[in-house]
Amino acid sequence: MWRDALVIEDIETRSLWSQVTGECISGKLEGKSLLLFPSSLTTYVEFKKQYPHGKLLAKLDKGPPRSPYDLYFADDSQLGTFGRVDNFERLKGKDIVFGLRLDGKQVAISQDYLLERQFAVLKQFSPPVVVTYDAVSNSVAAFSLPAQLADSSDLTLVDDRITLNSGRTAWNARTGQLLSGEGSNLASRPITSAFWFAWVSFFPETELLK
């Protein structure tokens, strides 16, 4: 564990890599970085709906219907590595945020913010990034808007669709697929779900929407 996050080792060079940043922190490839690949969070029932032809990682059996870390997640007093104290500002240490790192900037959005709004347009990035959230499935995804839509003021979320021009143009809010109107699919952007204490540890200057 390094800075309260996982360290990964590659077999060939035995270099060590930060799970959070993708940077090689020690070893032959120190200073090199992996590229962050866009991903999203959702549930199995939602995945079946959005990706009926998708594939799921095989496992031996169904297993118990819970995470083995449920107790840890529920205990606000347990933070970080070996007794870190919750003296964080702006949010409580165990609050959940969804973070993006683009263009040299870091922006975190609190889960409470998205629970209330389900939608955020981040104009700090160029082109702007739209973040969508579904409270039922705890699904979160981020997409870059086409440059020509950067100044659009009627972008909104309606029934799991990102809509524009009073609904004449719409995209699937989970996959970014173009559903109606002119244009193309929205490009996914990497978004990380994290505890606030871990995110701000790596990115102390992060902007925060809460």
Binding site: L41, F47, L57, T192
Partner: protein
């Protein structure tokens, strides 16, 4: 041996890493940062942890290579087959391109932490 495991497994990436940094993608899409919980409650039988200073921060070596089996050659099932293995509310990491989508249960990934996979011909590493 469980599916998606091999005998020389370690929680690492597969080779060749020298080229990989240019071509490998890291998926940190999920609450991967939550995983440090493994270090929060260190069992007494683990004894003293090895500490190493890296860039001004201490790295704690909690597990030795091989303690947590990474997945190197993942196998997948279809949505049609998955009802017997997945709960409706089971949280998933999703990676997708225009042609395919892969999903990984975070409950399942807890036992492996790292999956070395390919999507659209690109090597990716999914971590949780």
């Amino acid at each position: 041996m469980r599916p998606n495991e091999r005998e020389d497994q370690t929680a690492t990436w597969s080779s060749p890493m020298r080229e990989c940094f240019q071509h490998c993608y890291l998926v940190v899409g999920l609450t991967a940062i939550r995983l440090f919980l493994l270090a929060v409650s260190v069992p007494a039988q683990w004894g003293e942890l090895e500490e190493t200073e890296i860039h001004g921060h201490t790295m704690y070596t909690v597990f030795k290579a091989g303690d947590i089996p990474a997945i190197f050659e993942p196998t997948f099932i279809s949505v049609a087959e998955a009802d017997d293995y997945y709960y409706p509310n089971e949280p998933l990491v999703i990676v997708a391109d225009s042609n395919e989508a892969h999903a990984y249960s975070t409950w399942h990934l807890t036992d492996h932490l790292v999956v070395n996979d390919r999507l659209g011909g690109r090597m990716i590493t999914v971590t949780w």
